[in-house]
């Protein structure tokens, strides 16, 4: 196990720079999730950690050692690929034992290490199968088993769940999280799914266009997004963003609706060109804000309502069952403590 320190890391493919100076500290035993829309450079960053891509500039440390020029095989890192990259001509057992057999480990030692890993993952009965004979979820587990057997310093996961169906994804999520709690190996996990990031991570790194937008614990990112990008990316349904201005201690939307202001951050100047951030779930029935209903989606446990506030499309999530018809107007209240204010120009957070 080891910490991972990335400082001012840059990567160019030809003349195109895809990572513009990324710095991330991942502590020993931490589960860090790199999340961002596709093309944000998160996979490239992971591949650079693995040594599969060359570092253009900057520094990667694993433990105290700079690994920039170290070939992948000497980094003591295990990676789970998006397509699993199982060796098709080897059985499950051989796949898991591959790294050990490369080192020329004796058969007894190999069996001793493969068995517990297979049992943790429920693969004990599949050891003689070939990858082709496995289902997606089983292949996923074999890929993880191959990594566990290695007992590496760092686990890397490259969108490991994106080829699974929705239900399996949820259960594998728990399984990976469990596994991490059991082995507490430093883990770097790449995904584009913010729910995966929220549910699994100790630390989330939100990336966008080759830059780090914010680093923090899941709830920290949810409660205090540093900028508009993080605000819109974290949370589902996404945060409602209403353009407007601050006038007389209230937020006045472009459509004329007046909303209560969250406490301002120290030194932040509020005025024109503001964005008001309102989470769908921080609205409640029975306030003074008019909400025109367009679509009602009952999910059973809660009700999603699409509509508009002051002419701006807004989504609300309510605990109550709502029988409003499309076109009707309901009145909602806002939990002021859970609202956010951003500068429309820079996108930076203004509220505390």
């Amino acid at each position: 196990m080891a910490s991972v320190t990335i400082s001012d890391l840059r990567k160019s493919f030809g003349t195109v720079e895809v990572l513009h100076g990324v710095s991330i500290d991942i502590e020993d035993g931490e589960f860090a999730v790199l999340v961002g829309p596709s093309g944000c450079g998160k996979s490239t960053l992971l591949r650079m950690l693995a040594g599969l891509e060359h570092v253009t500039s900057g520094e990667i440390r694993i433990g105290s050692e700079v690994v920039n020029e170290l070939p992948p095989k000497d980094r003591d890192i295990a990676m789970v690929f998006q397509n699993y990259a199982l060796y098709p001509h080897m059985t499950v057992a051989e796949n898991m034992a591959f790294s050990l057999s490369l080192k020329g480990a004796p058969k007894a030692e190999i069996a001793e290490k493969v068995r517990p890993a297979a049992e943790i993952l429920g693969l004990a009965k599949l050891l003689d199968r070939y990858p082709r004979q496995l289902s997606g979820g089983q292949r996923q587990r074999v890929a993880m088993g191959r990594a566990i057997v290695r007992d590496p310093q760092v686990f890397l996961f490259d969108e490991p769940l994106s080829n699974l169906d929705a239900k399996l994804r949820v259960s594998m999520r728990t399984e990976i999280k469990n596994l991490h709690q059991r082995l507490s190996t430093t883990t770097v996990y790449v995904t584009h799914d913010q729910i995966e990031a929220m549910t699994m991570a100790d630390k989330i790194v939100v990336m966008h266009d080759g830059r780090v937008e914010q680093i923090g614990a899941p709830l920290e990112l949810y409660d205090r997004p540093a900028n508009l990008f993080v605000a819109g990316f974290i949370g589902s349904p996404a945060m409602n963003l209403l353009p407007g201005r601050v006038d007389g201690g209230r937020f006045v939307g472009d459509g004329g609706v007046s909303l209560p202001l969250p406490p301002p951050a120290p030194g932040a100047s509020a005025g024109a060109g503001m964005i008001y951030g309102l989470r769908p779930e921080s609205m409640s029935l029975g306030g003074d804000i008019p909400f025109r209903v367009e679509v009602v989606e009952p999910t059973g446990s809660e009700t999603h309502v699409m509509g508009s506030v002051g002419g701006v499309p807004v989504v609300g999530v309510f605990r109550e069952r709502i029988a409003a018809r499309p076109g009707e107007e309901i009145h909602v209240g806002i939990d002021v403590g859970a609202t956010h204010l951003f500068d429309a120009g820079s996108g930076m957070r203004l509220s505390a």
Binding site: M79, N83, F98, Y130
Partner: protein, 307 residues
């Protein structure tokens, strides 16, 4: 079917599924029968007769084969064929695989090199054989000339005049011609191996040799089996190259079974005997095909599961 019977055979032929199928198959069947089955059958029949050019023969049973079994030139040609096939195939495989591996890397001008590699295969055999004829000329050989300029030899090498020199010279020409097929086919095979497997192996601690031995090579074996079967069949039945370069000489040292068969049958006029030599190749070719049939069977790891 009931309707077909009512309408007579012509209606059946043009309107029922089976009748139409028969019509559509006819051109291919005629082609195969006229140009493959008939010549093959005729060749086998001739092998059991004493036909000469200009004289119809009579059935003489295995007499041709008995005669051949005591013919030292025939056995020499069998030896030559095996030697030629074995050495040339091994060289083609080794060099072809090597080239394929190089071309699979990210080289500058990759497509240009891939196109250039194909050239020897595109040039008609007779043309390249003629070029080699000059390269191997006993007086004007460029190889001899270069070696003499470098002071490594004193007199030109008699490439095609000495039995072993000649054998290796024709093998060299055959290898030159055969490499592109092997290299390009194996390159295609290499490109079906996902990059991530190599990356996974690298992370698992494999050196580049281990990656080749334990990932690339096993995954490539099904394609190697196909490519090498074809390569062996082409080499075993080679005719043009030998015929242009040496005509089987010197003193039959480069006669392959195919060239000897032609030699005896057409210039020599002994159609029956020539056919017998050709028929004698069939068991060997069948063996190669059977070998490939079993070699080509899907391996256990290729079976089961969809996607």
């Amino acid at each position: 079917m009931a309707r077909a019977r009512r309408g007579g055979p012509l209606v059946w032929l043009t309107e029922s599924r089976n009748g139409l199928g028969l019509i559509f198959m006819l051109p291919a069947a005629v082609f195969l029968i006229c140009f493959l089955t008939y010549p093959l059958g005729l060749g086998v029949w001739l092998a059991f007769t004493d036909t000469k050019i200009g004289r119809a023969g009579i059935f003489i049973g295995l007499e041709n084969f008995t005669w051949l079994s005591e013919d030292r030139v025939f056995w020499l040609s069998v030896f030559n064929t095996f030697f030629y096939t074995l050495i040339a195939s091994v060289l083609k495989f080794a060099l072809g695989l090597w080239l394929a591996l190089i071309l699979n890397e990210n080289l500058p001008f990759k497509n240009f090199f891939r196109a250039v590699i194909l050239l020897p295969w595109v040039v008609p055999t007779v043309l390249s054989a003629l070029a080699f004829w000059w390269i191997f000329d006993s007086q004007f050989s460029i190889i001899s000339w270069v070696l003499m300029k470098w002071g490594m030899i004193d007199a030109p090498i008699n490439f095609l005049g000495e039995p072993w020199n000649a054998r290796f010279s024709v093998i060299a020409a055959n290898v030159w011609r055969g490499i592109p097929f092997v290299a390009i086919s194996l390159l295609a095979g290499l490109q079906t191996i996902p990059q991530s497997l190599n990356e996974a192996a690298a992370l698992d601690g494999a050196t580049s040799w281990q990656r080749f031995r334990r990932i690339t090579l096993p995954l490539l074996t099904p394609i190697i089996a196909v490519v090498m079967t074809f390569s062996v069949l082409f080499t075993f039945t080679d005719f043009q190259l030998i015929y242009v370069l040496t005509r089987g000489g010197p003193v039959n040292a480069t006669h392959l079974m195919a060239t000897l068969s032609f030699q005896r049958a057409i210039p020599g006029g002994q159609l029956g005997e020539g056919a017998a030599i050709a028929v004698a190749m069939i068991p060997f070719l069948l063996a190669a095909i059977l070998f490939s049939f079993f070699g080509l069977q899907r391996r256990r790891w290729q079976q089961g599961g969809g996607d």
